[in-house]
Symmetry: C2
Subunit: 313 residues, 2 copies
Amino acid sequence: MPITVTGSIAFDSVRTPFGERERMLGGTSVHFALAASFFDTVRVVGCVGEDFGDHEMDVLRRRGVEVDDVERIAGGKTFFWRGDYGWDLNSRETLATELGVFEGFQPKLGERSLASEVLFLGNIQPDLQRMVRAQMPHARLVALDSMNLWIDVARDSLLEAIKTVDCVILNDAELRQLTGKPNLVSAAQEVLGWGPQAVVAKQGEYGAALVTSQGFFSAPAFPLETVVDPTGAGDTFAGGFMGYLATHPAGKLKDEALRQAVICGTALASFNVEEFGTARVERLRGEEIATRVAELHKLTQFNMVSLPLRDNA
Amino acid sequence: MPITVTGSIAFDSVRTPFGERERMLGGTSVHFALAASFFDTVRVVGCVGEDFGDHEMDVLRRRGVEVDDVERIAGGKTFFWRGDYGWDLNSRETLATELGVFEGFQPKLGERSLASEVLFLGNIQPDLQRMVRAQMPHARLVALDSMNLWIDVARDSLLEAIKTVDCVILNDAELRQLTGKPNLVSAAQEVLGWGPQAVVAKQGEYGAALVTSQGFFSAPAFPLETVVDPTGAGDTFAGGFMGYLATHPAGKLKDEALRQAVICGTALASFNVEEFGTARVERLRGEEIATRVAELHKLTQFNMVSLPLRDNA
């Protein structure tokens, strides 16, 4: 089932301990779409400025991503972000955020975008997420991401948006902030109580956790010796996750499919961070993903044994 | 195979968002021994002050722990630690550390302690770790823990100690500090290059990772809705880990046994944090451990599927 995604399209200037790059193609929709494109057709709803060229658009088109609903605004500038990562890549400082055309972004969904049965509401103002959601009442699988800013300044609207989706995908810190519950399991269960059937807590270098009414699943990040640039890892994860579920319409919210989706998201994200920007995922091949999924299986499995426990010493 | 452990025996005063407790029984050797006692006999080498009573010693004795080599020093005071945890339990502040008799601790191993074939060198001054290790040349399985202080002030001695052990168990932050490598996989591989055959990176609420020459294994922490007191979780993990391996002398450093040992450590640690101090582990039953191990199996497993990947979109 084709997937519609709405969220930022950006230029990112990034410095990490491994180097720096200026104005790389980035943003939620880009990272998401490239990852999900390995599974199904992705339709991007977004906006860019005049500085966004055919070269950038072609990166998406080459992966079959439909960009008819990417509005290019005359005289406008594409969203720009500049950030600097610390030595262990777990902290980052935002040096500049220039919203540009993204500030007045009003998602406009054409017929094809509206017809998708899978929808990913990337991190944008929750009012806009709700507006898009409302236009796609027949979507069979809807997930949402957000960020600390919206939890701070638009919490009520975000809660309304969350009520309308099947799955919430957030960082674990955001889940805690959103619910006021320091414990991850409690926080996720609170969100499940609002309506969604699944909560995914992204945990950066530690992987991701899935909480549903059926239980808990945890997947580590794929262990890499060199992580070059974590920018977009979360959106790439979401792309792999939603992409996999889009190919499993029947079992989309069954625990087994959700677990496999988490693993697919984990695999895709692990490629994203190996190089700057979209470089690695752009030239990724399907068989590499399959290999990494198999490796993730190998490094999480263990055999059960009967334990030689001494109850009364 | 019986296990000898050397490390602190302490009184801990702890405040967490769930309450506070004064002068609870604690310390590396105590948490380790209680956990490992479910698998085999533990022999503790340590020292306490006059303020350490039979009541405390009985907590260990009830679990079959041998305390002949716990020296009670007349006129001395038992190691004391006071700490305060933040709202999400991931940060803690040390409010007081009174070394007491631990300051002059000289491990004295009696015949039975010397005869153990498994040795856990808890976090003490590395010179002492090496001294104990040297007295037990026939030990078949030796593991070591340490801390940021020793990495700072006794790095050379710690490196010498590490060369003499089979397994290093550290927090991931300590592994990074020790090796100067921000990447966990690289850091662990550096340590493997020094001699040990296995490195366990403890990751707190995120679980633990195992790195050997044969590969990587990752286990999440057991998801708990309420974590009351994380004090001693790492030592309890080490106790479950080493306890399990002590019962598997043949396969002690085979990947499969090491993975199962990580799971046993994870299970034990999850009980430790459910209540203050040693309260929960003191009344733990073997079947509860087995149940939790089975639950950990359930929440980490997924079925492999052939992926519907679209290579050329």
